[in-house]
């Protein structure tokens, strides 16, 4: 803006200078023109003077000649008509010849005796002009010249007189006069617009004027004395003589009453002492006259020039202004780019620094200072090498920095920086030099990449690789060892093992497989079951393996294989094999001959069933014996005791009391026997059936354990025998478990008969348990219930979860009985 203001002021000044120059030139021209005009005016004045002088002296000689003419002397001497006529004729002749206004002759008294105008109305003859100076001068023998307004003719004229002498006489006898008209002279003073020419007498009366209205007026104001003198001389009539109003203002300047200024010059007229020719030069008109041509030519030129100048100034100003704007934009862009560069430099998330030629840091990026833990102020001006580890410093000072300033760049130089806290950063430093315009290095631009982590990682990687290599060797040997082991296992295991691919073709069989089916591993490889196995076996294998492949789940299944007409049961575990991507590539089967186990299991089950049955029988027997036999006997005993008591009640109170004690003892014993019997096996189960037995048991359970026990049942067939026993025992066991372990407050037994099944459900609101984590005793209880259920062909099912209570369900078909 400042520059622009300066430019503006300069433009203004240029314009002003142009204007002033134009004006000065104009004034100079004007002055010059003015001077020219003045000079020409003076010239003209001189010319006029010459003319006038010539005019005024023109008739001095003729009049002298005329005065010497005899007729005139004769006339004066004789005064007779003859001589007068001759004189008149002479006068007429002179008048005609000289082309003057009038020629006349006066006597010594001043009376006109002859005149060329004697026949005119204003004839001078007889007139006395003795008051005129020219008469007086002539009478004294001097030639006279006089300018005056004619008293008779009322015409201005120049009077030339000369004394007329008698022969050889010294005193004049009269005077001859020639009066020349002013008219011609006045015509010489052609009026001009710019100037006024006047002929004034010594008192300032204007006698001849180029401006007619000023005639007989006074050039300057006169005092009354002079006026009186003027009137007395009657030189210019009788007046009045008005003042023109001109006033002198300085040597060469006069002002008229209207304020118009005139340049004033005057010259004396020769031989007319006091008479002057006055030249008044109208300054305004003159300047007009001068300036008009100037104006008409110069002004447009100046205006055009000024306009052109103004236009060019304006144009240049615009150009300059645009240039300024452009420069400013460029400057701004430059500054911005500089700022951006600076910001980029500082903000770049990289370790940037610059050093000067002496190796001192001149700038560092924020990241640099953050990475090293210094503030910028702490590092600027210090040597870069101050921040290097001793090894790096030596390396830098001796080798890298000299090379760098010689070559202009370095790349990936490994340095170690020391952070403010003493930690070491490993970096790779690359740098280029920055030159000024004279190709002198002014600073460097260096970027360091923190490779501490990378180096650590690389070292770790290297170590890991070594470890891996040794591990992999170890692994290889382990694999070899394991392979040998597995091969051994496969070879010597009693299990039949094979692997099939996803299409069901054998990939591997072990030696047991070979023995079992009488084949050789290479022969079966790539073959399907059907290709070399008996149809029923092939069918079994194919079906189960296909299921594993389809469901992608391991499967445990019993397979029967006939060997030497004996059916062998194999427990086969089959599981899918996966490749690295989790795709099923095949199936592996491991089959163990469990024929013996199976038989043993079967025997065990039968044994357990018979034990249970036997135990149940035993219990029933014992219960019955206790309840019916011992109980009955006790009852009978009690009757006896009561009888005795009643009998001796009156006679022997002591015996009666003893009988009562006995009675109570018997009652207690009966209770115990009953309890024992019922615990062994409730009679209700045998006499009334399952529903009643469970009803009794639940009520008894509630009473004994103070756990609310609800029993709900449908109407159904009366269940007795083994089924009733199993159902009762399962219910009993389940409720016992509730009382022992569940910490329940409520339990509910539901018995329903639907779909030809008996279904008993025992629920509780107790703490529940993880089925997998049952203790041995509880597990055995469960197993017992399961066993009982399976013995009668039923299904036993437990559901429980921690804090969710337990539900036990026993379902058995009622087809039998």
């Amino acid at each position: 803006m400042k520059l622009r203001s300066i430019l503006r002021i300069l433009s203004l000044l240029a314009f002003l200078s142009a204007g002033v120059a134009g004006y000065l030139y104009y004034s100079l021209l004007k002055d010059y023109a003015f001077q020219e005009a003045e000079r020409s005016a003076l010239n003209r004045l001189q010319a006029t003077k010459k003319n006038l002088s010539a005019f005024f002296s023109e008739n001095t000689k003729p009049v002298r000649v005329m005065a010497g003419m005899t007729p005139l002397v004769d006339a004066l001497v004789h005064m007779d008509p003859q001589t007068l006529n001759a004189a008149n004729a002479l006068l007429d002749l002179f008048k005609k010849t000289l082309d003057v206004e009038v020629c006349y002759l006066m006597d010594i008294r001043g009376n006109t005796i002859a005149s060329s105008n004697r026949n005119d109305a204003d004839s001078f003859v007889g007139m006395n002009f003795s008051f005129r100076p020219y008469f007086q001068d002539a009478m004294q023998g001097l030639p006279g010249t006089y300018l005056a307004l004619g008293t008779t003719s009322r015409k201005r004229g120049a009077y030339y007189s000369y004394p007329v002498y008698r022969e050889s006489a010294d005193t004049p006898i009269g005077i001859a006069v020639i009066k020349a008209s002013i008219f011609f002279v006045e015509k010489e003073l052609t009026p001009e617009e710019t100037s006024i020419q006047l002929v004034v007498d010594p008192l300032g009366v204007i006698f001849i004027s180029s401006r007619p209205e000023w005639l007989y007026q006074l050039l300057w104001q006169l005092n009354p004395k002079d006026i009186r003198e003027l009137r007395r001389s009657r030189q210019f009539g009788n007046g009045p003589w008005h003042w023109t109003g001109l006033r002198q203002k300085g040597e060469k300047l006069v002002v008229d009453p209207s304020g118009k200024s005139y340049l004033f010059h005057q010259v004396d007229i020769d031989k007319y002492p006091g008479w002057r020719i006055v030249h008044l030069y109208d300054i305004e008109a003159a300047s007009k006259l001068v300036s008009e041509p100037l104006s008409s030519i110069i002004r447009p030129v100046i205006i055009i020039l000024c306009t052109l100048l103004g236009a060019s100034i304006f144009f240049l100003y615009r150009r300059a202004s645009m240039e300024i704007t452009r420069r400013r934009t460029v400057e701004r862009a430059l500054r911005k780019s500089e700022e951006r560069y600076r910001s980029l430099y500082h903000q770049t998330p990289a370790m940037l620094h610059s050093i000067d030629e002496t190796g001192n840091l001149v700038s560092v990026s924020n990241y640099w200072s953050e990475a090293l833990g210094y503030t910028r102020e702490e590092v600027i001006g210090r040597k870069l090498t101050d921040f290097l580890s001793p090894v790096s410093r030596k390396y830098a000072e001796e080798k890298i920095i000299p090379t760098f300033f010689k070559e202009g760049f370095i790349k990936d130089v490994p340095y170690q920086f020391i952070k403010k806290n003493g930690a070491v950063i490993e970096v790779l430093l690359s740098a280029i030099t920055d030159h000024d315009e004279q190709r002198r290095t002014i600073r460097s631009l260096a970027v360091s990449i923190d490779v501490t982590e990378r180096n650590i990682a690389e070292r770790a990687l290297k170590e890991a690789k070594e470890a891996l290599s040794s591990y992999s060797k170890d692994l290889e040997s382990q694999v070899r060892k394991r392979t040998r082991e597995i091969s051994g296992i496969l070879q010597y295991t009693p299990a039949v093992i094979y692997i099939k691919d996803a299409d069901g073709k054998y990939a591997m069989v072990n030696s047991r497989f070979e023995q079992l089916f009488g084949v050789q591993s290479p022969d079966v490889r790539g073959k399907t079951d059907q290709a070399f196995l008996a149809p029923d076996i092939a069918e079994q294998f194919f079906k189960n393996d296909e299921r594993v492949l389809r469901e992608k789940q391991s499967l445990q299944v019993e397979e029967s294989i006939v060997i030497d007409d004996a059916v062998h049961t194999y427990l086969s575990t089959k599981f899918p094999l996966y490749d690295g991507k989790g795709k099923v590539t095949g199936v592996c089967g491991i089959a163990t001959d469990i024929t013996v186990l199976k038989k043993a299991q079967e025997q065990l089950r039968r044994l357990s069933a018979s034990i249970m049955t036997g135990q149940e029988k035993e219990r029933a027997y014992l219960a019955r014996e206790l309840h019916d036999e011992l109980g009955q006997v006790l009852t009978a005993l009690r009757m006896e005791a009561v009888w005795i008591r009643n009998r001796v009640n009156q006679s022997d109170p002591t015996a009666s009391a003893r009988a009562l004690t006995m009675c109570e003892l018997i009652d207690k014993t009966i209770e115990e026997v009953r309890g024992l019997a019922i615990r062994l096996r409730p009679g209700v189960l045998d006499h009334l059936g399952l529903v009643e037995a469970v009803e009794w048991y639940t009520a008894d359970f509630e009473k004994r354990y103070d756990i609310t026990c609800i029993f709900e049942h449908d109407d159904g067939p009366e269940i007795r025998g083994n089924l009733a026993t199993a159902a009762y025992r399962i219910t009993q066991e389940a409720l016992t478990n509730v009382a022992r372990h569940a910490s329940a407050t409520r339990t509910k037994v539901t018995m329903s008969f639907g779909d030809g099944n008996l279904k008993i459900t025992i629920r509780d609101n107790g703490k529940g348990f993880e089925i997998e984590s049952l203790g041995e005793a509880e597990g055995l209880g469960m197993a017992n219930m399961r066993e009982r259920a399976s013995l009668v062909g039923g299904v036993f099912d437990v559901q429980s979860r921690p804090r969710g209570g337990t539900r036990i369900r026993f379902t058995v078909p009622l087809t039998k009985s």
């Binding site: 009955q632 009679g683 037995a693 009520a699």
Partner: protein, 212 residues
Amino acid sequence: MIKVLLADDHSIVRAGLRRIVEESGDMTVVAEASDGREAVLAVRKERPDVAVIDISMPVLDGLEVIAQLKSESPEVPILVLTMHEEHQYVVRAIETGAMGYITKQSAPEQLVKAIRKVHSGSLFLTDAAAEALALRVAKGSGTQSPLDTLSTRELQVLRRLALGNTNREIASAYHISIKTVDTYRFRLLKKLSLRNNADLSRFAIQNHLIET
């Protein structure tokens, strides 16, 4: 003289019973049976005024005897005399047609009274037996009863409360603490959405748990 039949497979028990019956003075044992079949035959032959039948008997058990006698000789009132105290027996016996039920244990004290009662055409039941019967009748009256959701003990307490028993009385009847009775009461009210004992009574009557 009331003619009484005694059916029991234990001779010593029979002997004791005979003595009790005969010592009453106005009763006489007209026949004894040691199994169910004998009992049925004896009734046919002797036409006793009252048949006293044990439940556990060989050949035909007591319940079968009752059923048979009920169809053959419905006019002979049957008194069940048994070792079994379980209410299930009481209910079954009465359902089958017996007029009374007593345990052998209580025979010296109650047998004569019971025979007289059934002979007069009335039911003879101990309080506990009566209660069991009432509970069963109530529960068995409809297929879906609100009582189904109650346990036996709850039903017992409910009935007692409905009958106007105090907590103390109930507690002593079932050998439980008064506090437990109160717990039961509270639980019943909550379970059945009732407010007070009056509601409980009304509920018990509506569900035939007690008779009006």
